[in-house]
């Protein structure tokens, strides 16, 4: 698992693993600087005023992995020298645990930051992953965006949030 860039796993995530993975991909090309921007999303104890107990994430795994690859292709189309890795956890997650880890490496730190932010926005928009929230007194499937990778408006929103 550690050597793959796009992963859905029940194992705890390790940010260092994917940071090293993308940093190594920079080494092939000569460059004056190496920048790795990374992101870790963690489970918090409150949502919409509800005291959250734990989450359970479910994925349509083969499509989720392809979605990450698709997002990386979009990213390297926009920021050519940038390399992306995404690991998403599924199954039961307790408060404080990491649900998603993203790393983006580039010779240019602006591109590394933009690609990393773009990736988390796109994951939230299109990755076939669902969050089941267990709170005090009940549980609910959290439902966000309609997953449509062709939705150009959504893609523009992600680019805008990435400050691109």
């Amino acid at each position: 698992m550690g050597m793959l860039a796009f992963v859905v796993t029940t194992d705890p995530l390790d940010l260092g693993t994917i940071v090293n993975l993308v940093a190594r991909r920079l080494e092939d090309a000569p460059a004056s600087a190496g920048a790795v921007a990374s992101f870790l999303g963690t489970v918090r104890n409150e949502n919409q005023g509800r005291r959250v107990d734990r989450l359970e994430y479910e994925a349509y795994e083969p499509l989720a992995v392809k979605a990450f690859q698709r997002i990386a292709d979009e990213s390297s189309g926009r920021w050519p020298e940038t390399h992306l890795a995404v690991h998403h956890r599924i199954g039961r997650l307790d408060i404080g645990e990491a649900s998603v880890a993203i790393a983006a490496a580039s010779p240019h730190r602006a591109d590394a930051f933009a690609a990393c932010r773009y990736a988390i926005e796109r994951i939230k928009q299109i990755a076939p992953i669902w969050k089941h929230e267990y709170f005090e007194g009940g549980d609910v499937w959290v439902e966000g965006a309609r997953a449509d990778p062709e939705d150009e408006e959504a893609r523009q929103t992600a680019l805008r949030l990435a400050c691109a």
């Binding site: 990755a127 076939p128 992953i129 959290v142 439902e143 966000g144 997953a147 062709e150």
Partner: protein, 81 residues
């Protein structure tokens, strides 16, 4: 044609199954199959505007024509990240 259907999250809960197999006529679209499911599972109807789909593990449009043996997934609104 015989189609395998994958369901997730709340759709799975409503149907009471992750996977279904249904027969559809030749030329049936993803949308037609979905319409059939909303008759079978009335609570699906609330998702008609929000659902998206994948055929054989690739994103697809709801107007895609299906082929015998296809695997189709219906995706309720996502909440990963």
């Amino acid at each position: 044609m015989r189609i395998t259907i994958h369901l997730f999250a709340r759709l799975r809960d409503i149907a009471g199954a992750s996977d279904l197999v249904r027969e559809v006529p030749v030329g049936a679209t993803a949308h037609a199959l979905w319409d059939g499911l909303t008759r079978e599972f009335p609570d699906f109807a609330a998702y008609t505007d929000a659902v998206s789909t994948a055929v054989n593990e690739e994103y697809a449009r709801m107007d895609s024509e299906l082929s015998d043996g296809d695997e189709i997934a219906f995706l309720p609104p996502v909440s990963g990240g």
